[in-house]
Symmetry: C2
Subunit: 230 residues, 2 copies
DNA sequence: ACCCGAAATGAATATTGGTTCAGTACTGAA
DNA sequence: TTCAGTACTGAACCAATATTCATTTCGGGT
């Protein structure tokens, strides 16, 4: 038995080799979807185009995903999950004050997003489909939650004044997402200085939660975490 | 000559009465568009539906607007212009510090937006069409500009520390828009307390720009300005 | 070699909804 | 009352594109 096999309903078998091939096609399709969106936005993301980039037939897409919306939802969910992980990783670093964590998390997110311009714009702002939009909302909620937790920590540690962590978490997310999108929208006008934007936004968010308690204004450090950017 | 007339190309005339009727139909169509979007979002906003609500035939829409996108763009532009005017009006009040102005402007916007839930959500977040999206971007830019000016004032008056007014203006807009959308997205979960949300967001924005300089934290006042809400 | 079922293919189909336009109803002046 | 011009109507049209499915190719067991 040189090849591991699975038995299907009809009594037939399927070698792990073809399983792997199938899984690979699926991966290629997701990859292609991301590529197309990054390059030309959701507007250009027809099923046929994605198929051709992934080097499979149009119909094959439907062998892996029940619908176009589900394909793009999954793609977007992956991208967003990765960004959330990065943010949480930066925020989790030991031995830093809540202020520092928030600054670093914001700066890192903004910097990464500004690197991957096309995808970031599409993910944050470009209209697509209600299903896909839902993913966007969930991603925002996830980020807001992460920041709300950081704020709670700061309040508990008496580093920040009392405040509604939930609302301010959302406000932080809105602030930095807008700071990413706004420059991208006018990137023709002025070349953008990633470091300057992310530092400024990070400071903004720190002050917003620390308020008068923030005496020194530490520069946020951007943690470059490798892996696909968004 | 009991009726003022205009001469058309063919030498014919058009009474002011029919002009008025035509203008009225146009107004009704815009109104209907807003109504449909407020009630059911852009997703349900087909030309045929708008026509039926406005009580005209589908084709008549095209007698007043060259395309669906232009109809909705105009509708959205109107709504956004009004909100921007309100914000600027609140911000322009005499004898107040920059901090107070910013707080009031933010609180007023958020409160108004939370009143007109449906429209606010659609205007801020719901995907539609690239043309319409452009209007959204412009509206955001307009708001950002208004806040950037307030920040400049504050910096000039040495009320705020030096900062990049352009970036922070955008961040403020992002912060309060998100604070509007996020609660709307989960409004099933918890009933929303408009006053609490707007006060919290206003405080957030004030701290974000004033930072350590903000010793007392004055409550922002919500100016209720009458007129269609968004 | 041959066969069976799974997987891939891509041209054909279905759907959706914006836009058009031939016909009809009005309007106001002569 | 008639007529020319204009506005209105809404069913038919059409483009775009997501989805289907009859056919072909492939993999591996006999």
């Amino acid at each position: 038995m040189p090849e591991s096999v699975t038995h299907t309903a009809g009594g037939a078998v399927r070698s792990s080799r073809v399983e792997a091939r199938k899984a690979d096609a699926r991966r290629r399709i997701l990859e292609a979807a991301r590529e197309v969106v990054t390059e030309h936005g959701f507007a250009a993301a027809q099923v046929a185009v994605v198929a051709s980039v992934a080097d499979v037939a149009t119909g094959s897409i439907y062998r892996h995903f029940p619908s176009k919306a589900s394909l793009f939802s999954e793609m977007l969910r992956d991208v967003c999950r990765r960004e959330l992980e990065v943010v949480r990783a930066v925020a989790a670093e030991e031995g830093r004050t809540a202020t520092e964590r928030i600054g670093d998390a914001v700066a890192t997110f903004v910097d990464r997003a500004l690197r991957g311009e096309g995808l970031a714009y599409a993910v944050i702002a470009e209209p697509m489909d209600p299903d896909v939009d839902q993913v966007r909302l969930e991603a925002r909620a996830g980020l807001a939650q992460a920041f709300a937790e950081l704020i709670e920590n700061g309040v508990t540690a008496e580093e920040f004044p009392a405040q509604d962590a939930r609302i301010r978490g959302a406000a932080i997310v809105g602030a930095f997402l807008e700071a990413v999108v706004a420059p991208l929208a006018e990137r023709v006008t002025r070349p953008l200085d990633r470091a300057a934007v992310s530092a400024e936004v990070a400071r903004f968010c720190q002050q917003a939660v620390a308020g008068a308690a923030l005496t020194s204004t530490p520069d946020a450090r951007i943690r470059v975490i490798h892996g696909g950017q968004s």
